[in-house]
């Protein structure tokens, strides 16, 4: 590992922040303290974190229905995030977006999205803007294995390749599109194979290995920054909880064995093991990250829950931009 220590700790911290944020969010949903439905990112932390460690606030990402992890990794504020999940005026979207539309334009996070595969065309547009402005920024579109079957993915991929846009198409292949296993929604094993049809490089990465993701994404992003065009990167990963919430709706579609097998490769534990073995951090130091993050989360939840709901006049505000 010739990755600077600070970077490795940064990577770890982002992952822990996601894990803690999501565990607490999951509890809030299961105990009905918040409204609506959450798609939790637990298990996939290495992907968002590995990618985001290569980005600045000037780079854009588009996210998915499973979007908290992306926003946390991009630097999202716990208070504004939880407040949004609670539907409060202090949330990122003034309570009007909720989990599925959580976003922070200032961080270049162009929104979680309730429409599967809506991200790639928008990220392609963002990447176009980066190229147009020659600002050296890149855009990353996160999307799932299921999403790779939508026409929107195809159109965006082809346009990005044709125009050599600084776009990373980042497939989070967790083996299921909602409840349908990959083998029943596509005949290919690797979504990355689709890159060939667009004339762009494609690669498969172990999505439970944060360092592998960090490095592969780093390469693709560097390539994009050099003006050499898009890359399709597929991270094989797994969601530890259900499609929606922690326990989901109680219909089984994965075997317990499968879940356990994947949980053995918990991306945070894997990274922590490597960090301690390499002497980058002690177990105690890493544990401290969990603890202080948990405290921050609980504090943020308190803030969120005590925040006011949006006022009625918020209902019709911001449908349009109105000149001040």
């Amino acid at each position: 590992m010739d990755i600077p220590k600070a970077k490795l700790l940064d990577l770890h911290e982002r992952m822990v922040r996601i894990r803690v944020f999501e565990e607490e969010a999951g509890k809030l949903m299961e105990s009905a303290r918040i409204p609506g439905a959450l798609h939790l990112y637990v298990g996939e932390e290495a992907v968002a974190s590995g990618v985001m460690c290569n980005l600045t606030d000037e780079d854009q990402i588009t996210s998915t229905h499973r979007g908290h992890g992306h926003l946390v990794a991009k630097g999202g504020d716990f208070k504004k995030m939880y407040a949004e999940l609670f539907g409060r005026a202090t949330g990122y979207c003034n309570g009007k977006g909720g989990s599925m539309h959580i976003s922070d334009m200032d961080l270049g996070m162009l929104g979680a999205n309730g429409i599967v595969s809506a991200g790639p065309p928008i990220a392609m547009g963002a990447a176009f803007a980066d190229k147009y402005k020659e600002n050296g920024s890149v855009a990353v579109a996160f999307f799932g294995d299921g999403a790779s079957n939508e026409g929107a993915f195809h159109e965006a991929a082809n346009m990005a390749a044709t125009w050599k846009l600084p776009l990373i198409l980042l497939c989070e292949n967790n083996g299921y599109g909602e409840f349908t296993p990959q083998a029943r929604h596509q005949a290919v094993k690797d979504v990355a194979d689709r890159a060939i049809g667009y004339g762009m490089p494609g690669a498969v990465v172990d999505g439970m290995d944060a360092i592998a993701v960090y490095e592969a994404a780093g390469e693709a992003i560097a390539r994009a920054r050099r003006g050499e065009g898009p890359t399709l990167l597929e991270c094989k990963t797994y969601r530890f909880y259900d499609h929606v919430g922690i326990r989901g709706m109680g219909v089984s579609y994965r075997t317990d064995d499968e879940v356990l097998e994947w949980r053995k490769r918990d991306p945070i534990q894997l990274l922590e093991q490597r960090l301690t073995e390499a002497g980058v951090a002690t177990t105690a130091e890493l544990a401290a990250v969990h603890e202080r993050t948990r405290a921050e989360a609980l504090d943020a939840i308190k803030f969120a829950e005590e925040s006011p709901f949006p006022e009625p006049d918020e209902l019709l505000r911001d449908v349009y931009y109105v000149k001040a």
């Binding site: 309570g95 009007k96 309730g114 939508e150 026409g151 409840f179 709706m249």
Partner: protein, 333 residues
Amino acid sequence: MSTATGTRTIPYIAACTEALRQLLREDPDVFLAGEDVAGYGSVFGYTRGLLKEFGPKRVFDTPISEEGIVGLGVGSAACGLRPIIDIMFMDFIGECMDEIVNQMAKMRYMFGGKAKLPVTVCTMAGAGINLAAQHSQSLESWLCHVPGLKVVMPATAYDAKGLLIAAVHDDNPVFVIFNKRMLGVMGEVPEEMYEVPLGQARIARAGTNFTIVATGRMLPEAMEAADTLASGGLDVEVIDPRTLQPFDTETVVNSVKKTHRALVVHEAVRFGGLGAEIAAQLQEEAFDYLDAPIGRVGAPFSPVPFSPALEKLYVPDAAKITAEVQRIVGKAG
């Protein structure tokens, strides 16, 4: 009525499932396809058990590809099958509007009547459960504007079963728009197969003083409003169009000719909603009978907000309907 042979009180969702089961049993050319309708039984649970009974040839999951899914329906219907296609949330029809509007709706006409497309599309509309802007819409007015499509919106368990069966039996493309907040609503449903004829409105409550036309999830709200108004001495007739396209203008016009005042209610955005068409038709057909302008209640002109604090202001309800009727009645003096 409640003691008719084989009639039980069951939830709306069970009526849907029963209709699907009977349709699949009845005709081997009927199949059911959509995202997670087989293994999972749909995220709304309304197709649960069907895979087990009919197997993966007849009931199957599709990739997340709405345009492809509708194409599956169009192509297989044109070749003699009778597909039932599920588009999970109505909000997703934007992904397949071309396939719906330029192919499904027009093929028969463009081919000079040589194609027959007995395809049914089931989808779930409606707000009110904090699913935010992309999982809460009611977009039926888009579909009703498209010649070649039929559109139904069941508001009771009885109609859910009967309209779904009629839709699948019909030799035209039919959209069946369910409402996610109605799935648990109980109603009396005969065990046997029956059709609720397409194109026929139902007088859900007879009345003499005022007409409320309410679609889908707005029907129970309108019924509640009618109760409230009754205690104030207004005898409200409530009409459920059931089929939105073709629209049963006659039933509604006849009611208004009797009551002289009307309010149209739907969950969709008010501007450009089906209520506009109904109001326009009513004033055309019953102008001389009207004592007051036809009122309309619908969602305000904004996306559906996530926060419960705002969503409850967004979705029309009995209170809003009552207030609007009172305003109209007041105006009519």
